[in-house]
Assembly symmetry: C2
Homo-oligomer: 323 residues x 2
Amino acid sequence: MPGRRTIGVDMGGTKLLAGAVDSELSVHHRVQRSMNRLDQSYLLDVVVDAVEETREGAGAEVDAVGFGIPSLIDQRSGNAVIAVNLPLKDIMFADVMTERLGLPVFVDNDANLAALAEHRAGAARGCTEAVVLTIGTGIGSGLVLRGELYRGAIGAGAELGHTVIDLNGPPCQGNCPNHGCIESLASGTALAREALRIAHEQPRSGLGRALAAGRELEGPLVTELAHDGDSAAIEAIELIGTRLGVAIASFVNIFNPEVVVIGGGVMGAGELLLNAARAEMLARALPPSRDIVRIVPAAFGVEAGMIGAAALAFDALDPRLSS
Amino acid sequence: MPGRRTIGVDMGGTKLLAGAVDSELSVHHRVQRSMNRLDQSYLLDVVVDAVEETREGAGAEVDAVGFGIPSLIDQRSGNAVIAVNLPLKDIMFADVMTERLGLPVFVDNDANLAALAEHRAGAARGCTEAVVLTIGTGIGSGLVLRGELYRGAIGAGAELGHTVIDLNGPPCQGNCPNHGCIESLASGTALAREALRIAHEQPRSGLGRALAAGRELEGPLVTELAHDGDSAAIEAIELIGTRLGVAIASFVNIFNPEVVVIGGGVMGAGELLLNAARAEMLARALPPSRDIVRIVPAAFGVEAGMIGAAALAFDALDPRLSS
């Protein structure tokens, strides 16, 4: 008899990823949908359809569904407070989905769920205190404190991407009114901006020649050039890593964590990024916290949010199954 | 029959404060000792003597002793890792005191214990998520998360005073290798430094005249001048409040707390400081966290650490008393 399953759903701004997952967090059936430019009513239809298809292919009974949403979630109500890239503002998402799917539904921020996946089965496994940063266009984050996901008073916490490191820094993006937070200085967006600046300053570098050739200096290209040894590209990545290290020093002082896990697209730069972050953290954080913390790459890639959403559903079911 | 008592001991760099405290956290007997320039062996004698005197005046049986130490405590061993202003490096303080006092002994960082006192009976009472900052010569801090004091993996966490707000800022003090953290930019030490700069720039202001008269521009004088309406002194205090607000915005994004409590000597500046901090936090932090958090003065003054140390002892005893 196959074990129980939950369905994890990661609702990205452009793509939905759903999976039927067992209690060991192995994925048994995957479904993808495009999410570009849907209005709210059609978006909900697409979500329901994707979950139903996943359920049919699950190979076992499905007990619940977990959703990761790129949004601040008000845990008091299951209300998605602000979904920057999805038309989900001010609907009672959990209630609507429970009704339409006929299954228990649990919702959390997508970055929180990536942290949950890393804690259960990834780079933070076995740790009680972990900081997980997901660095792409923006910087998502999740916190594991005393062995559990930390959400704050109403579920709006763990927004570490909006920690200030330069009080006079540039304005942030999206709905963030801050300036000089790490999302504005150390995200993939910031990497592209710094690469462009350095390319202009060093026209004979690999970065400079790529710019002259009309190529867009996005993260993957900068990373590729850096791995090929271009000193300008390396400079851009190390600058981002150093700025991350400034914020990580603060997090190490605040949380005394066992591990800081870095994932997301910018982690294509790998040890080049991490070594710069480690050096800056070591130069700034307090002993003994700085000496016990590890800064490591995430174990999960694009499926972290989906797997974490399934883990959330297992966690939420547990008290009821055991009663 | 009088209820149970514990003794709380706050071991400051210059002064020891001990009190016999009941389970409602009322203080029944107080003892003070000077701690200036004692070597380790004599310091331990003074501590033992102060506890014994407090015990004699307690008016009821004493069950345990809690100590607050201005130090990072390794909770794995009760070892005071770094005590900047006390000669307690690398002794097993809890073990030594248990042996000499013949009572159960519990130890924590003094700023953590101030947070515990505020949570149990002060400005953070009834909250599950609270950030407590104690702003004096340096910036101490404690975190209440999910209703409990947060210490990190080995007890070295909750050092929020060493959160960076300006990656190119001035060097910090004591054993902190960082620069641009709030202790370097928004402590009482920073207030005195900024007041001196402004006094030089504005020689006809109240601050400037005080400087010309040979007075030392320490926090209490700056606060007094600000309360008298001197615009230069107000400028200095608002600058410190604004910088605090930058860090508080990060803390609000990270913790989604119900309350941020500010205590310590610099809080002599009262609402002048808090209003500047509130305005900056509101301009930077994310909704909805920024809209639910309150920034308020601490309820306890100099006795916060001592009362928190007694509360720590009650907490630590509880599981044993109930078994």
